[in-house]
């Protein structure tokens, strides 16, 4: 399918049989905040406090392989941080993106390591470079930068030159 669907209503109307959409609606329709289908990729925006359950839901719907999580800093707009989880299905041979939006003061979200242990390093990386906390992570320490480093380098307001 090559068309672009930019609203939740359009996605629900055109893709009601999509396994991930179906599973999320069957589990908790109000957790699905927004949805879009763009450039062949389905993005489901999930309410921040529901991400761990949403991950478990899509996992049992056949999206069995966690590939990647990373953040985007939309400074200075609000909500500031966007987390993008990329999850692959070996059965359907396709990928979905779960998206979570977080505010700038003390951004925190539940860790999905109980669902996919492979998220361990990825969440540590986001914690290190963006300063987003993952509650329930077994070892939330800096991974790239030294342990005593100040600041989070991939934030947009992190100075790239001069004295810090």
């Amino acid at each position: 399918m090559s068309e672009t669907l930019l609203s939740k209503a359009a996605v629900l109307e055109r893709l009601p049989e999509h396994p991930a959409v179906k599973a999320i609606l069957a589990w908790k329709p109000e957790a699905l905040v927004d949805a879009k289908f763009d450039r062949g990729e389905l993005t489901l925006t999930i309410a921040a406090e529901e991400i761990r359950s949403a991950a478990a839901t899509v996992q049992s719907a056949g999206y069995n392989f966690f590939e990647d999580v990373t953040a985007v800093d939309w400074f200075p707009s609000s909500p500031r941080f966007q987390l993008s989880y990329h999850i692959l299905s070996h059965i359907y041979k396709e990928r979905i993106r779960l998206r979570v939006l977080l505010d700038s003061d003390a951004p925190a979200v539940e860790s999905i390591t109980p669902v996919w242990p492979s998220a361990n390093f990825y969440e540590r990386e986001v914690f290190d470079l963006f300063g987003i906390n993952f509650e329930g992570h077994p070892n939330l320490r800096r991974i790239m930068m030294p342990d005593d480093w100040q600041g989070h380098p991939l934030r947009k307001d992190y100075p790239v030159e001069g004295y810090r």
């Binding site: 450039r39 062949g40 990729e41 590939e67 990329h86 996919w116 320490r141 930068m145």
Partner: protein, 406 residues
């Protein structure tokens, strides 16, 4: 299993009762068998590994942050330096992602050349893996043989792009230049003799009792653990998970090629060794198909505002000169949106996530590199084995620290 990649090892637990105290051993960051600057903190009971904790970040250069300050076309040389043993795979992944953001159609000849080069890169990368892995185990001869063949691949890359390792040959919208006239013959000559060379390595190693004993039954990873810990590529297929992005979610015209995806179910170092040897044979088949069926036509997309013009045109046509000037000084705007492009790199599933805000510079670039996730599975593979097996396992999972730390 979740706790296996949990807390760091800071000090050894005190001795209790009749048991001796465990010892903490640092392997690396400077250690000949660590394939770069990987530091492993190992807690050992005599010679048995009790816990193992990888400490990374020694090679962190912040490439993702650097990308945000560059034009889209200026990021291509940076991608070479992420996984420096398979530059073309990184170039390919980045270019495909940006082309999807732009909605750009790539001519067929460029696609076939990209597939050919991606497979040559796979051979190049697997040759280094085989050589260094065998050398870690003590079979030095194979290392020299592998580097002999790798040298020929690097010479082909040199003739193609002017660089042996950091090729930067791929461009957004196609390739940087036509391949030289002798390119076809050199590649044909190389892959004609290469299957015999694989037999040669196999004769030295497969029947070698020392090599076999060091690998068989060592570093076992179950299919369930492989998926739970994010292991991809040959390591995952060695554990019996039948998935390959080239076949299952084809990109860049891979659906037009016939090849097998080797699978093994044992999940030990030996399975991974056999799978990579078979993958090399399959790659030779793909390269042969690409050479035989190479279509005619241009090697860049017809998009003058994105692809730099020929030198010839730039010197003779006013329009081309203006386009050249605009691209170099201002870049080209990419429509807002986000794209995640996955490819099967020599080490596993590589993914580039690019977020565009509609300007000429990427708003956010993120690389999902296979070695980073594979490293999480190291403790599961080494636990309860001898310390010397750690060296065999690290060699067999084929990690590159450049792409772990980025």
């Amino acid at each position: 299993m979740t706790e296996t990649i949990g807390s760091p090892i800071l000090e050894a637990p005190a001795a209790t009762g009749a048991h001796d105290q465990h010892m903490i051993l640092n392997m690396g960051p400077q250690h000949p068998s660590m394939h770069g600057v990987l530091r492993l903190v190992v807690e050992i009971d005599g010679e048995i590994v009790v816990r193992l904790y990888p400490e990374i970040g020694y090679l962190h250069t912040g490439i993702e942050k650097t990308c945000e300050a560059k034009f889209y076309q200026q990021v291509v040389p940076l991608t070479d330096r992420i996984d420096y043993l398979s530059p073309m795979a990184n170039n390919l992944c980045y270019c495909l992602a940006v082309e999807r953001l732009l909605g750009l159609e790539i001519p067929e000849k460029a696609q076939w050349l990209r597939v050919l080069l991606a497979e040559l890169t796979r051979l190049n990368s697997h040759l280094i893996w085989l050589g260094t892995h065998a050398m870690d185990i003590g079979a030095l001869t194979v290392f020299l043989y592998c580097f002999r063949e790798r040298e020929e691949i690097l010479r082909i890359f040199d003739g193609l792009s002017g660089q042996r390792m950091m090729t930067s040959y791929f461009r957004i919208g196609g390739l940087s230049m036509e391949p030289p006239l002798d390119f076809h013959d050199r590649v044909q000559q190389f892959i004609k003799t290469f299957p015999e060379k694989i037999d040669e390595y196999s004769n030295l190693l497969t029947g070698n009792p020392i090599f076999r004993n060091r690998l068989q039954g060592v570093g076992i990873l179950s299919a369930k653990d492989a998926i739970a810990l994010g292991v991809t590529g040959p390591n995952m297929r060695g554990s019996g998970v039948d998935f390959d992005l080239r076949r299952d979610m084809p990109y860049s015209g891979y659906e037009k090629f016939q090849f097998k995806v080797p699978i093994a179910t044992e999940g030990d170092c030996w399975a991974r060794y056999e799978i990579r040897l078979q993958e090399m044979r399959e790659s030779v088949g793909i390269i042969q198909q690409a050479l035989d069926g190479m279509p005619e036509g241009p090697i860049t997309a017809d998009a003058p505002k994105i692809v730099l013009p020929d030198r010839e045109k730039m010197k003779t046509q006013m329009e081309a000169l203006i386009h050249h000037f605009k691209i170099v000084t201002e870049g080209f705007a990419v429509p807002a949106g986000e794209v995640y492009q996955g490819i099967e790199s020599p080490r596993g599933q590589m993914g580039y996530y690019i977020v565009s805000d509609g300007t000429a510079k990427p708003y956010r670039v993120h690389f999902r590199n296979p070695s980073f996730a594979t490293l999480q599975a190291l403790e599961t593979m080494c636990k309860g084995r001898m310390l010397a097996d750690v060296v065999a396992v690290v060699g067999s999972i084929d990690i590159v620290l450049g792409e772990i730390d980025r």
